[in-house]
Structure formats: C-alpha cells, structure tokens
C-alpha cells in the first residue's frame, strides 16, 4: 500500500555507530584495561606475577587503600570530595599505637576509629550545614588533623613492639589470607551493598546527581552527604590502624597527601565521576588494583620506579578525559 506515510518505521536500519560502542566500552570501563594488563603481566612474568603469593601480597598491601577508597567512592557519588583521609589515617594510627602501649588493643582500636568518625563528622558538618565547598573544607581539615597527629607524636616515631595483641589485627592468617585483607573484603562488601542496594545508597546517588531534585523529592540531602563524610573518616582511621598493626609503629607523617591522592586516583581510574551521581565501589576496587598492578609490574620488571609515577599520572588523565568526553557525547 502507500509506503510514503511512515518511512522511518519501515526503514529502521540497524547500525552500530561509534557512540554506541563508546558507551558500551564506558559502562565496562576500567575492566578491559585491567584484564589486558593482567594478561600482559601473566604472559611476560609468568608465575612470578600470577602466583598466589604475589597476588595475595598485592591484595594485602592494598587493604587500607581499598577500604578508604570504597568509602571515598560514597563521598564522590554523593557529590563531595574528602581530601583529609591521609591526615585522618595518620591521626587514628598514632592515637591507637600510643594507646596500645598502655591498654588492651580492642578499646585502643575503638578509640582510634572514633577519632576518625569524629573528623568525618566535622568535615561533614562544615561541608553541608556551613555550606563550605567540601574540597576546601576537607583540605583545611587535612592541615588541622595532620597537625594534631604530629602533636600526639611530638614529631617522633611511636613504637608498640611489645603490643603483640595489636599485631593480630593485620598479621593473622586465615586460609592463607591475612586478616588485613579479610577486614578489607568485609568492609568493601558492606559498603558496596550499602551504596548499590539500600535506600541510603540511592539517596547518595540522588544527592550527587541533582541535589535540588533530591531535596524536592524528600531526600535529606545534607544528612546523606554528612553520613558519607563520617563513613570516609571512619574508613580512613581503620586503614591507618591496620597499617600501624603491620609494623607496630606509627608516625604523624604517614599517609598524608600521597595516600589521599592514591585513593582518589583509584576511585577516578575506576570510573567514578568527580562531579557526583555516577560510580560504583566495584569500579573503585578494580581501579585501585589496576594501579597496584602497574606498581607490581614495575617491581617485577625491575624498571626505574620513577617512571611509575609518570605512567600513573598519564593513566589518570586518560581516565578523567574519557569520562568528560563520554559525558559530552551523551549530553550533546
């Protein structure tokens, strides 16, 4: 019959344009480079790389970074950023290490984590109710908290070599995996569940995606954001305490900006947007391990570690650039 009426419906030519491939690549994102790098290292270095010892060592070393980065993902998703995690890591670490010299490790660890939660609470209150941009608020707090950490130590290394009970936190092995790694796995899974499956997690995405829309839809945006900072502070403290337990010592200069930026790098390379509302904790895990694998590769290949930083910087630029570029494509 008349074919002129709805030509568009009849000729729906299926083609796969570049944009569709891009968006598919983006939803998988970091997972493809991760697999490629894994295969390259496995083929190149053989069992030295993919042997259980090496892989478990990577995971163990990344425990504290992964815990902090998982919580940091929540902060970013909810539309904030926490630059104080490095300092909080140090403060909690020195407080707990100092206390285990004179008390049972369990309350000492508890107090250390409480310190981290407290820092997070202050961050959250300043960033939400005082309406100070979280970048500035947590940057300022990182100086305050870092200063407090140095104050606690008096500028010295705090040693707790006699507190062997404290060492159990990180060093015990269960099924040949360290307790540090087990703790990390537990915390990361819980945080991932909260972010992806609970009402609270949905509210985090909503607050970061469009805070005015979330508020009008009945979300208590300030509270939601505040909670992410508290979680981040607690996670930073836990990470610091785990790492102190490995070496039974702590100092105020541990963590710091290096840790803060390593954590952020893992989150961003994973594909979580610094603009809020997008991201996932599994991505952060893959991103963080990807960066760790690069470091491991440099060690195994005995390359000059100076190039590692340059490589890492390049990868972060590519990750952030790909995110910005794909946003441009989908909204244009």
């Amino acid at each position: 019959m008349s074919q002129a009426t709805t030509p568009s419906a009849l000729r729906a030519t299926p083609r796969l344009p570049r944009d569709a491939i891009m968006s598919r690549a983006r939803s998988g994102g970091i997972i493809y480079p991760f697999i490629v790098l894994f295969i390259v290292l496995a083929v190149w270095k053989g069992a030295t790389f993919y042997g259980t010892t090496n892989l478990l060592a990577i995971v163990d070393q990344q425990s504290s970074t992964l815990i902090i980065a998982a919580a940091g993902t929540m902060v970013l998703v909810a539309g904030g950023i926490d630059l104080s995690v490095g300092a909080t890591y140090a403060l909690a670490q020195v407080v707990t290490t100092k206390l285990v010299g004179s008390m049972n490790p369990v309350p000492a660890i508890g107090i250390g984590i409480a310190v981290g939660l407290g820092v997070g609470l202050v961050n959250g209150v300043v960033a939400t109710y005082f309406r100070i941009n979280s970048l500035i608020a947590t940057l300022a707090m990182s100086f305050v908290v870092g200063g407090l950490a140095s104050l606690v130590t008096g500028g010295n290394l705090i040693i707790a070599y006699s507190a062997l009970g404290f060492a159990n936190l990180a060093r015990t092995q269960f099924l040949s995996v360290t307790t540090a790694a087990w703790t990390m796995i537990g915390v990361v899974i819980i945080l991932a569940l909260v972010l992806s499956r609970t009402i609270a997690g949905r509210y985090m995405y909503a607050s970061g995606s469009n805070s005015e829309a979330a508020r009008l839809a009945g979300v208590r945006v300030q509270q939601v954001k505040l909670i992410t900072f508290v979680i981040s502070g607690g996670a930073a403290a836990l990470g610091g305490i785990i790492d102190a337990s490995r070496v039974l010592s702590a100092q105020g200069s541990n963590g710091g900006t290096t840790l803060t930026f390593t954590v952020l790098a893992g989150i961003v390379v994973g594909g979580t947007s610094i603009l809020g509302g997008e991201g996932a904790i599994w991505r952060t895990v893959v991103g963080t391990l990807f960066i760790a694998m690069i470091g491991n590769g440099f060690v195994l290949a005995a390359l000059n570690p100076l190039y590692e930083q340059i490589t890492l910087g390049g990868i972060i630029l590519i990750a952030v650039g790909a995110d910005a570029w794909s946003r441009l494509r989908t909204t244009g």
Binding site: R197, Y205, S209, N210, E212, A213, A214, L216, G218, R220
Partner: protein, 517 residues
C-alpha cells in the same frame, strides 16, 4: 518601515541532509531552501528534528550526510565559530549570557574594543549605544546581565548577533520563557530584522507565533521533511495535523467540574514567603485550580512555599487528613509536605526534577523507596514492577527502564515526574508549568492525566504561562500580581482578557477584585 525589500535568492540551501545521534536518527534526507530576508519557521513535535536542523544551519552540529549551501556555495561548518565567520548566528534556547559582566560587555564579548591590550570602556559604551539605537532597544549597557529579566537577556543575545553583522539568525524557541508583552516586543524585533534584510530561521513550538511571523514554514516529523509551504493559507490545525501525521483531536479533555460541595483538601491562609505577600485560597477535591500571572508574579513562589521548598515566614497551609476531615498543618521541609500528601512537579524538570544521568526506574522510585524496600534494602524486583505499572498509567510507552533519563524526550521526562508523584498517592498535586517544552502529543497526554487525577479526588494546583492551557483545563483561575492574588475567575468570567487585565493590574473585566479581603 522602508519599502518592501527584494526577497529573491536562496540564502541557505540544504540538500539531502541527515544526522544521527547515537542510534537515533534525528534528520533523514532533509532538503530545503531558505530565502534571503525571509522569516522561515521550522515546526514539528519534540524529537522531530527542528532544533537539530537549526543547529546544522548555524554550525553547532555538522551533518553526517548531505550538503549545506550558503549563497549557492557549498560550505562545511565545523563549529559555530565557522558559521559566525560567514555571518550565520545561533541564538540557542539556553541563553549564553555571562551574568557577571555588563550588558555592553556581553554584547561585544570576544570582540571588545581594545587599547593597548586593555578594554576601551568609552569606545565600548559608544559602540553599544549606536548598536542599541539601531536595533531600537532601550537597554542599559552598564546593567549587570545577571540582573536582567529573561526577555532582556534575549535582547542582549540579539544585539550580540547584530554586532557581528549577522545576515542569518537562527532562533531556537525564543519566546518559550517569555511573558506575553515580552513576546509581542520580540515579535516586533524579529519583523524589523527581516525587514532590514536579515534572514531569520525561527524554531518554535508556538504555532500561533509561527503563523503570525513566518513567510515560509517547514514541517518536520520524525526527522523527515513533511513539506515546506508559505505560511499564508495555513492554520494551526493544518500545521498540527501535518506535524502529527494524523487528524487532530480536541485540544483539551472534557472538563468534569468538581461538585460545589466537594470537600476542601488544601487551604492556604495569608501565606507569606519570599515573593509571596499574603496569599489565601482553598482548593477542593477534584478541582483544577489554575494559577495565572506574569513571570515573576509569585506563582512559583506560592507553589514552593506550600511545599516548603522555600522558607515560609507567616501564614498557614493545612491539608485535609487522609482519613476524614481532620486537618493537618503542612510544616517543615519538602519531605514533611510530601508526607502530608502535597506533591509538586517543579518548574524546571532538568534543574529541579530529574537526575539526568540516572535510570528511569531510579528517577521514578526516588520518593517512594520505602514502598519497595525491606529493612532499608531496595528490592529491585518489586521496584521495577511498581515503576513499570505507574509508567503505564502516565503513558510512557516503550523505552527501557534502565536508560538514563537524559536520553528521553521532554514529554517523557515530564511524565516521569508525574509518575514519581503518583507513586506517593497525592492528595494535592502542584504542577508548575507541566507542559513547558513538551510536544503536542505529550501535552495532550498530560492534560488527560490531570483530568484522571481530579476525577479520583485529587486537588490540582496548576501554574501555567500558557493562557489557553489555563482556560482549557482549570475549573477556577487565580491571577497573581506582585506576590498577591488580584483576581479569582470562574466559569464565564475566566477569559483571556480578564486574566490579562488582572495580571497587568488594569480594571478587571467582570473579575472579582480581591484587593481588600
């Protein structure tokens, strides 16, 4: 006006132009000719491709296939900058004003008169004064652009185009955000431009405006050209049926007036808030109460105060209780207002309504997650089914529930906001500009939805700048001016003239003046 200009000659020709975004084809083999010095309108439903076509002409998009000829010579614009160099300028729907600069600085942005690397302020003022006088605009060049009304910001954009000696200006929905007198003024400007030999390509939803202004009209449907015809001899109905590809239905669903003894669901007494100076009214169950007035008269502010999206300084808002006549005061924040049963569809769906990067399901369920959750955990199965059911109610057809809402048409986005509100079983629904930027088909669906809601006893407060829409839907109309209700019009009293005169503060034509209540 000077005598009739010679209007022959093609200014722009498009030959077989196609353009796709992602998997969707926005334009398919469109050919048309735009004559020099003419006003050429592009019409079609949302997604028909009219904005895309306008952007291709002005270099904001490049065509995938086909050719663009400017003055008979093939051109390929890679950016708006290329087009500007050829004196083709786009005035987009989202205005590009730098709010912290003055009007004159905005107009000459990027082409400021300089002396020794510094901006030459005196020359800037002089150039601006000449330009504004030539265009016939009275706009203070030293005013900060951010303090201007939308209509005046639009004038800044037009002046900027003129300062670059534009020969062709593409205007995308220039009047969508303007109130009536500003629309008239802009129409005069457009006519003057064309009379002076500038070609104007007008992308517009408002068919009345198109018929009034345009020499030629190009109708698009689903990315295809339906036809290009002289505007003379067309009617709104003929354009509409060509856009829809089917005969036209009545514009508004039949009105089911609420019985006079219907219970009052919402009563507002002496409400005072930013932009609201003592507003009182009652809303009955099953009633659509229209809130008319000029932009800035305080309509949105009333809505936001009722929902506690804005701080309220005085007055009461009470709502009939969910079980019987007990009344609950609406206090606190938007969350508390929602719990009392007041839901709002905000004025700007992109800025205040939707999470554009998130999925359809997440956007719709956001305000009702407790319904589909157990112990704080969202159960995705029930969530998906609940959302699917409510989407059917608001007539969102096809499409995936996991697609980001930014990829949906304006009409479907608006329907998602209705779906979100419906999930909360509202007793009062406040719809602020529910059909702004929405195509004809979706408009009709939203009207039906409002009618269905009122039939089930919901009270609807509808804010709209489209007077026809207010007259066609509302059972009663309140007109606002200066943060106060200046007239209440019902039945035969509710006419366009009565609304306009109350909105402007002229003596009411049979309107009940409520000044000293």
């Amino acid at each position: 006006m000077p005598g009739p200009q010679p209007r022959q000659g093609a200014h722009v020709e498009l030959q077989d132009v196609s353009k796709s975004f992602g998997g969707t084809r926005a334009l398919a083999g469109v050919s048309l000719t735009i004559n020099k010095g003419s006003i050429h309108a592009l019409v079609g439903e949302n997604g028909a491709g009219k904005s895309t076509l306008g952007k291709i002409i002005a270099g904001a998009h490049s065509p995938d296939e086909g050719r663009l000829l400017l003055g008979g010579e093939p051109v390929r614009f890679h950016s708006p900058r290329d087009a500007i160099a050829r004196k083709v300028i786009l005035i987009a729907q989202e205005l590009s004003i730098v709010t912290s600069l003055t009007v004159a600085e905005n107009v000459f942005l990027g082409a400021e008169p300089r002396r020794a690397g510094f901006q030459d302020r005196r020359k800037l003022r002089r150039q601006y004064a000449d330009l504004a006088a030539a265009a016939g605009f009275e706009l203070d060049g030293d005013a900060h652009a951010g303090t201007l009304r939308t209509a005046d910001q639009q004038k800044v954009e037009i002046l900027r185009a003129l300062s670059r000696d534009a020969e062709l200006i593409v205007m995308d929905e220039p009047t969508a955000a303007l109130s009536r007198p500003d629309v008239e003024a802009l129409h005069a400007v457009i006519r003057r431009l064309a009379a002076g030999g500038t070609t104007v390509v007008l992308v517009s939803h408002f068919l009345g405006e198109v018929l009034e202004l345009a020499d030629q009209v190009t109708i698009l449907r689903d990315g295809h050209l339906v036809r290009t015809v002289p505007a003379a001899g067309q009617t709104q109905d003929s354009l509409l049926s060509a856009m829809l590809g089917r005969p036209l239905e009545a514009a508004f669903p039949p009105r089911q007036l609420a019985p006079a003894d219907a219970p009052v669901v919402l009563s507002v007494r002496d409400l005072r808030a930013p932009g609201v100076n003592g507003v009182s009214f009652d809303l009955r169950a099953g009633e659509i109460l229209g809130l008319a007035g000029l932009v800035g008269a305080g309509r949105t502010e009333v809505a936001r105060a009722i929902c506690r999206a804005n701080r309220v300084s005085a007055g009461t808002v009470t709502l009939a209780g969910p079980h019987g006549p007990a009344r609950v005061p609406v206090t606190g924040d938007p969350r508390a207002a929602m719990r009392a049963g007041v839901l709002m569809i905000p004025e700007s769906r992109k800025e205040q309504g939707l999470m554009l990067g998130r999925s359809v399901t997440e956007n719709v369920s956001l305000a009702s997650l407790a319904r589909v959750a157990a112990a704080g955990l969202v159960r995705t199965g029930p969530e998906r089914r609940t959302v699917r059911d409510v989407l059917a109610k608001v007539d969102v057809r096809g499409g995936s529930q996991v697609a980001p809402v930014g990829t949906l048409s304006g009409g479907n986005q608006q329907k998602l906001l209705f779906a979100r509100s419906l999930l909360r079983d509202p007793r009062v629904l406040i719809a602020d500009e529910p059909t702004r930027g929405v195509d004809v088909g979706a408009k009709r669906a939203i009207y039906e939805l409002l009618a269905t809601l009122t039939a089930s006893g919901v009270g609807v407060l509808m804010i709209s700048s489209d007077i026809e829409e207010v007259l066609g839907l509302a059972h009663r109309v309140l007109v606002m001016r200066g943060g106060q209700v200046t007239a209440e019009l019902a039945g035969d009293q509710a006419t366009e003239a009565a609304i306009l005169s109350a909105a402007f503060g002229a003596a009411g034509n049979g309107a009940t003046e409520r000044g000293s209540k």
